[in-house]
Symmetry: C2
Subunit: 248 residues, 2 copies
């Protein structure tokens, strides 16, 4: 670290922004809130807020998440059990011009959550909603139609992280309710990757990977057809060999 002079460093505002992803109706969706003030008033943005004094970055992200959704996320490194949602740091964005008002460095976090009831608008947001990420990212192509600030870029990075991480980890279960079927888990992969997977091979693959799924004991027919076994997420976090994303 450089020489320390209490008056020699420029002060920064530090925020956390959240990329909260879920799967609804076979589509990967992100949580966005409507901005109530300038700049970008009326535009959609990722939820987030300032990091408080004496508050860790992950704690700030968990607090904002809970304020916006009522969700209690579980960062595997922070105590406090959640309802299955997964939280991890994504990346940090610090372009001097990213906020026209002042110098803001934002530490983006990624949250993977099971399908939730409609979000409750909280704090300064006029409203909040789940929007398909395809819509949000397409809108970002035309200037001044997409997300506020550099949030389209942050969202794209978060989506890419989620897409690659479910390949080699068991994180896809974070999109599922506590008990789920193999078919439901497959539809998560299909929604996140935007591809169709062979149900037979998928079934063999996930049930054959030790520690990925553990039988929960019951069955369900909520998807129609023959009753399917219910599973819970197993203890394994790394999948070896990984799930293979089909070629483009």
């Amino acid at each position: 670290m450089s020489p320390y002079d209490p008056s020699a460093f420029p002060p920064f505002a530090v925020t956390v922004d959240l990329v909260v992803l879920t799967v609804r109706r076979h589509a990967l969706c992100a949580l966005v809130v409507r901005r109530g003030e300038q700049p970008f008033q009326g535009r959609w943005a990722l939820p987030g807020g300032f990091v408080r004094d004496e508050e860790d970055l992950a704690a700030a992200a968990a607090r904002e998440l809970s304020e916006e959704t009522g969700l209690c996320a579980h960062d595997p490194g922070v105590p406090g059990v959640g309802n299955g949602a997964h939280l991890e740091q994504l990346a940090t964005y610090g372009d001097p011009k990213r906020d026209p008002r002042m110098r803001v460095v934002s530490v983006a976090h990624l949250v993977l959550a099971p399908d939730l009831p409609a979000p409750r608008a909280g704090g300064d947001a006029n409203s909040a909603r789940w929007a398909p990420v395809d819509e949000l990212l397409e809108a970002g192509e035309q200037a001044s139609a997409g997300l506020a600030f550099d949030h389209a870029r942050i969202l794209a990075d978060g989506v890419e992280r989620a897409r690659s991480k479910i390949e080699y980890s068991s994180l896809a279960t974070a999109f599922c309710p506590p008990e789920f079927t193999v078919g439901e888990l497959r539809r998560v992969y299909e929604a996140v990757w935007g591809v169709a997977l062979d149900p037979r091979n998928f079934h063999r693959k996930v049930t054959g990977t030790p520690g990925f799924l553990v039988p929960a004991g019951g069955t369900t027919t909520r998807q129609g057809g023959r009753p399917a076994q219910l599973f819970r997420a197993g203890g394994a976090t790394l999948l070896n060999p990984p799930m293979l994303r089909p070629e483009v």
Copy 2:
């Protein structure tokens, strides 16, 4: 983002810390500098420094790198060609107690560089050196013997990132000089992963992956034995299928 009140956010100091890795004498080494002042005076630390006003995070990392090593890194997103070194953002560390003096958020960056002459001590560092990461991380086990601040943790995260990224990307070439042999590239993998690889299969694998290596035209005997073809890094960045790290 939360309601904006210029007086309502706590001011943070924002720094960049650098995990600069290279391969020297068959060992993965990191650049460390000796601290010249309190706290942790005399202890080794990762190079780094304050982000300046109007300076992007990646630019700050590149500036610190150049000040400490003379290296001109190439972030594939920042203009300005370097000498082959690779720079990417690693993660951000913001525990309120990580610096006893004040609230500091540090955006760590990872640099992969070819073997370099002895580093020149710059700025406030009494001295600088390349140290095998195994030594640095083992020393961290005993309290007050390892790196300053939370730098052991940052280093461990950087090493883990490098180890996993050379699996599925062509980043291992960033540890090599502009022209290198297949054997030299193999010794990079062996040093970073700490394993022995079969030279025959490795050769077939890397020369058979399109875009990974392009023949540079000449040969060399600098490693002894039969002359080896020289290669340059090809355009491909993602390896498909990936290099497989042998089981533990």
